[in-house]
């Protein structure tokens, strides 16, 4: 931004004019700003350091001292599996819907109501996760039971719908669907931002060649927004990986490692496992839970950094 440079130069010129030395107030204030900036970075590093230091005892402890009598790796592996499975379902369901919602808002809905529609989608992100959890177990779960039954009967030959279908709806599929609703707004917001920036001349060019609205979208808007959609999907995935309460409430867990999405026996997720067990744990069990938290932190950090790197590179271009 060239304008900012002018003002910075003006400030420097001014400092030079007033004796070449920056005034005390200026020094104090700019130092404070730098300290705040460094604090933020230190905070992020602190999260990693404290989790590592409190998690370490669990990593070095023998299997007999840890919960369930397993080594830490055996303890965290099924949880990590459940975490990735739930997040993957959420992303597979949410990304197409979010992209479609973004297209609807930016290119199909009347421009007058577009910002209101966008606000409605954003409201989904404002609802606390505990409420999604209650809604999932009391409303969506029971409503899904007949669907799960149908899936078992008609599509039971596919391993993921093998069943036996749950009679409460507390299944991986329902948990994944609720997560999908929760991450939809963030994916959609990023897609929307990219879609409105599609250069007008590209869209008009396509229309001038006789393209229909869908052809215009397919040939200009979607290719233009592709990398944004990918990074948005990764951000959504990161959210879903770390989402706690909805999964904690909805999923009935047995510790099974299975791709079966509609049964009562499901793997837990890292976050849900912490929420379920932390309040009643003590000693090494706490350290083990914190160590699983460190694993979750690492997984989400890598996902988020990947997504942000894509966005940053795009803005750079």
């Amino acid at each position: 931004m060239p304008q900012v440079d002018t003002t910075t130069n003006a400030g420097q010129l001014l400092a030079a004019a007033s004796g070449g030395r920056r005034r005390l107030g200026d020094r104090v204030f700019s130092r404070t700003a730098v300290v705040a900036a460094v604090t933020i970075l230190a905070l992020l590093a602190g999260v990693a350091v404290f989790l590592a230091s409190e998690g370490l005892p669990a990593l070095t402890a023998s299997a007999s001292e840890l919960p369930e009598g397993k080594t830490f790796l055996d303890y965290v592996a099924p949880l990590a599996f459940g975490t990735v499975l739930a997040a993957a379902i959420a992303a597979i369901v949410a990304v197409p819907l979010a992209v479609a919602a973004a297209l609807f808002i930016t290119h199909i809905a009347p421009p007058r109501i577009a910002s209101t529609l966008g606000y409605l989608v954003d409201l989904l992100a404002a609802i606390p996760s505990i409420i999604y959890g209650l809604w999932g177990i009391f409303v969506l779960g029971p409503a899904a039971v007949p669907v799960l039954k149908w899936l078992e009967e008609k599509l039971g030959w596919i391993p993921i719908f093998e069943g036996p279908a749950s009679v409460t709806g507390r299944t991986m599929l329902v948990a994944g669907l609720v997560l999908a609703v929760m991450i939809l707004p963030i994916v959609s917001a990023i897609a929307r931002e990219a879609f409105v920036q599609t250069p007008r001349k590209l869209e008009e060019g396509a229309q001038a060649l006789g393209a229909t609205r869908w052809e215009t979208i397919r040939m200009t808007v979607l290719p233009f927004g592709k990398s944004s959609v990918i990074s948005g999907a990764m951000l959504g995935l990161g959210r879903a990986l770390g989402e706690t309460m909805a999964v904690t409430i909805i999923l009935s867990v047995s510790g099974a490692v299975s791709f079966n999405l509609i049964s009562q026996a499901n793997p837990s997720t890292i976050a849900a496992n912490i929420a379920l067990n932390f309040p009643e744990s003590s000693g090494l069990a706490i350290n083990a839970l914190i160590a699983t938290g460190l694993v979750l932190f690492a997984i989400t950090l890598v996902t988020n950094m990947g997504a942000r790197a894509i966005i940053a590179r795009q803005n750079h271009e």
């Binding site: 905070l43 999260v47 609802i127």
Partner: protein, 305 residues
């Protein structure tokens, strides 16, 4: 960039003109339009259902008692969430007191002072920080306090620290956005009058951006006020009133709702009613904050132009 994005259009020009008859292309267009609109409608169903169900199921549990008494010694019906409401206010307030000054100063750094590596790193990691899972923030606060105060510790302020990890990046992002749109001629005018840079920021930039900053803080508060997971591991569960963040466990609305659902005791329906009433209260607070923030921001945008 432009030429690269242009080429697909040109490359497909011929296929566009030759591929498929007119009615077929129009039919595909209509089908896709319906599908896209349908997807949007589908995405709205959960929102409508959620608001409807929370309202319907929350109202029976609402009463004067719900807002005025705590839950000490209560079994079954009766008892309220006053301790949870007070706890929510205290925890959120302390979290804001931590996050807002640091967040706004960091935003000032980014927009007014920052350059080079530190600025780049901060921009990148603030974005990364918005993706920290809330439960991880809770574990961090627990690990931090455990180191000094011993295992099993639960305090209101621990919850505030956890929430401020989640809140600070949101404050920075939104504050940076509003500082960016403060017109540069205002800064230049102040410099021309010989005003030092820090005074320009304090007396010109911040007052101009004030409404926008308030909006950002409100959005950030709305984002954290309903957090459950980080508080579950830091502030604990308790039935009686506690308004001292530095002493003992502290209840809040989200954990209250979770706990009423999870351990309903013998009188299940009474506990579920209270859980839904807490959920309704929470959703009302969040929606109010969001709407108010939107109104303040609209006012701000028109004023700055």
């Amino acid at each position: 960039m432009e030429s690269a994005a242009q080429s697909p259009v040109l490359a497909r020009r011929s296929s566009l003109l030759e591929g498929g008859t007119d009615w077929r292309r129009r039919a595909v267009n209509r089908l896709m339009t319906v599908l896209i609109a349908g997807a949007f409608a589908l995405a709205m169903i959960p929102l409508i259902s959620l608001v409807y169900e929370v309202t319907k199921r929350g109202i029976p549990g609402l009463s004067l008692e719900f807002f005025t008494s705590d839950a000490r010694g209560v079994v079954g019906e009766g008892g309220g969430a006053a301790h949870a409401i007070v706890g929510t206010l205290v925890i959120t307030l302390v979290a804001s007191v931590i996050s807002v000054p640091i967040g706004i100063m960091a935003a000032i750094y980014l927009n007014e002072y920052g350059k080079g590596r530190l600025r780049q790193a901060l921009t990148f990691f603030v974005d990364v920080m918005t993706g920290i899972p809330s439960i991880v923030a809770g574990l961090f606060a627990y690990a931090l306090f455990e180191l000094f105060l011993g295992p099993g510790i639960r305090l209101g302020v621990m919850g505030s620290v956890a929430l401020s990890v989640l809140m600070t990046p949101i404050v920075i992002r939104s504050a940076e956005e509003v500082l960016k749109i403060v017109p540069n001629h205002l800064r230049e005018a102040a410099y021309a009058l010989g005003t030092p840079k820090w005074k320009t920021i304090v007396k010109v930039v911040l007052p101009t951006a004030f409404a926008g900053l308030i909006t950002g803080v409100m959005i950030a508060i709305a984002r954290i006020v309903g957090e459950t997971a980080p508080l579950l591991v830091t502030t604990g569960v308790v039935d009686s009133m506690n308004s001292d963040p530095f002493n003992g466990r502290m209840q809040n609305l989200a954990v209250y709702a979770y706990n009423e659902y999870r351990s309903p005791g013998v009188f299940k329906q009474a506990a579920y009613d209270k859980a839904w009433a807490a959920a309704l209260t929470l959703i009302a607070i969040v929606m109010l904050l969001n709407v108010a923030a939107r109104l303040v921001y609209r006012h701000y945008r028109t004023e700055i132009r």
